[in-house]
């Protein structure tokens, strides 16, 4: 199991190839796998399908990958705050599949939990339901949504141990735990690597079974999009 532990992003990302499907944790710029993204940018892998709630900003997060045109398709719920994204989308270079945020989260969880599809009322009667099976159940209309998996899932945690057990901090948790479940290979970068046993077994957010590789990240920028202050 010690084989899960990697020295850095460069080593941990081995095996990534063009045209793969990736999941990237985070909400806005909060809790994004900064080290993994930096390495993806360095590798300049192309043709990627990225599943991520957001698409970063122009000069940070997935925005850095968009600048290099590494991404051919985004599956997200909200993609504002990114001019380059807008340009590529409007020009047709970038395909975008927009999904309701809760549906996206549940699709990731379902993919990780071996549930090939589930019904949800969300999106019924909207564009989101177009081309999807719908059904009335107990007098209400629902849409059938397939689960999602990815070749690699990149998640960012606060602390983790060499078994891959993870805890997150604050709202940086967001999509990270469900994407960890859904990755065929899940790579976790952590702010602090701790010894097994240091994390209380009763309070671990992501059990190590969902994590295939882990490394301690460096140089976290943790950029804030909307710094709002009470005087």
């Amino acid at each position: 199991m010690s084989k899960k532990l990697y020295a850095n992003a460069r080593e941990a990302l081995a095996g990534i190839e063009d045209n793969m499907t990736l999941m990237l944790g985070g909400f806005g710029l909060c809790g994004i796998p900064e080290n993994c993204i930096r390495e993806l940018v360095r590798l300049n892998i192309k043709g990627l399908i990225c599943i991520s709630n957001n698409a970063g900003v122009d000069d940070f997060g997935i925005g850095l990958m968009l600048q290099q045109r590494q991404v051919v398709k985004m599956i997200s719920s909200y993609v504002g705050e990114n001019a380059e994204f807008e340009r590529q989308m409007l020009s047709g270079e970038l395909e975008v599949e927009l999904l309701p945020q809760g549906t996206l989260a549940e699709k990731c969880r379902a993919g990780g939990a071996g549930i090939p599809s589930f019904f949800t009322a969300t999106g019924y009667g909207t564009e989101v339901a177009e081309g999807k099976e719908t059904r009335e159940i107990d007098g209400r209309m629902y849409v059938l949504e397939p689960g999602l998996t990815a070749d690699f899932a990149y998640v960012k945690a606060w602390k983790g141990d060499k078994y891959g057990n993870l805890i997150f901090k604050g709202t940086a948790r967001n999509f990270n735990p469900v994407m960890a479940m859904a990755g065929k290979i899940t790579i976790a970068e952590v702010e602090e690597l701790v010894e097994p046993g240091e994390l209380d077994p009763n309070f671990i957010h992501t059990p190590g079974i969902f994590v295939q590789r882990i490394f301690e990240g460096v140089d976290y920028e943790k950029r804030i999009e909307q710094r709002t202050i009470t005087q």
Partner: protein
């Protein structure tokens, strides 16, 4: 006179009940938090993973790992809870929220709502709005009665791509408080100084004036 954004929020805040779990959307809905009545304790949910949202932090308490769904830095309160996105939307989709307040571009007399997409313009996405309108029984829409071109946003039928169908029952605009019942808007309260005629002229959908229509009080 038309209500200010603050006044719309203030009117909506009167609907809050003690013990409720409430999700406030971006824009006018966010302002509702400033007018929660004395003695009413509500717990604010932020769909990115926080229940029990507190005020914005002071400079020394800013934490990049603690933001709300509008990506603003926030704080927690005693009793707050953090959770992941699927747990968050289990709350929402599962009908556990007592109230959702959100903005809209259009609503119609069937309770449909459109608030995420204008064809031909850059689409940012629906975020959690579709989940919130599908999952919450009790929704209040907060918006101006007409758009900036003076056209009604209370329609017979929404023209923009929908966020949700047959889900809206109440709306507070700058002119009035209306409910949606039996395929029509029902005028319940008028903003101070606004006439029934004004509301009628700016309501494109079918409008019924309630027998007990009255002026809003604050």
């Amino acid at each position: 006179m038309a209500l200010s954004k603050q006044q719309i929020a203030q009117r909506i805040a009167q609907e809050l009940k003690d013990g409720w779990y409430v999700n406030l959307g971006i824009g006018i809905p966010t302002l509702v938090a400033n007018y929660i009545p004395e003695g009413v304790n509500v717990t604010l949910q932020s769909e990115n993973g926080l229940l029990g949202m507190g005020p914005f932090p002071t400079e020394d308490k800013v934490d990049a790992d603690l933001i709300n769904a509008g990506k603003q830095t926030v704080t927690m309160l005693p009793g707050s809870v953090l959770f992941n996105s699927s747990e968050s939307f289990a709350m929402i989709r599962g009908g556990h929220m007592d109230l959702t307040v959100l903005g809209a571009m259009e609503i119609d007399q069937n309770g449909d709502i459109a608030n995420w997409k204008i064809p031909g313009k850059m689409v940012k996405g629906m975020g959690g709005a579709m989940d919130l309108v599908a999952g919450t029984e009790n929704i209040i829409v907060a918006m101006t009665h007409a758009n900036k071109h003076g056209k009604s946003k209370l329609l017979k039928q929404c023209s923009l791509p929908l966020t949700g169908r047959a889900c809206i029952r109440r709306v507070v605009t700058d002119l009035a408080y209306l409910t949606i019942e039996n395929g029509a808007f029902v005028l319940r309260e008028l903003a101070p100084g606004v006439s029934v005629k004004e509301v009628e002229s700016l309501t494109d959908g079918d409008l019924v004036v309630a027998d007990d229509v009255c002026e809003m009080t604050f």
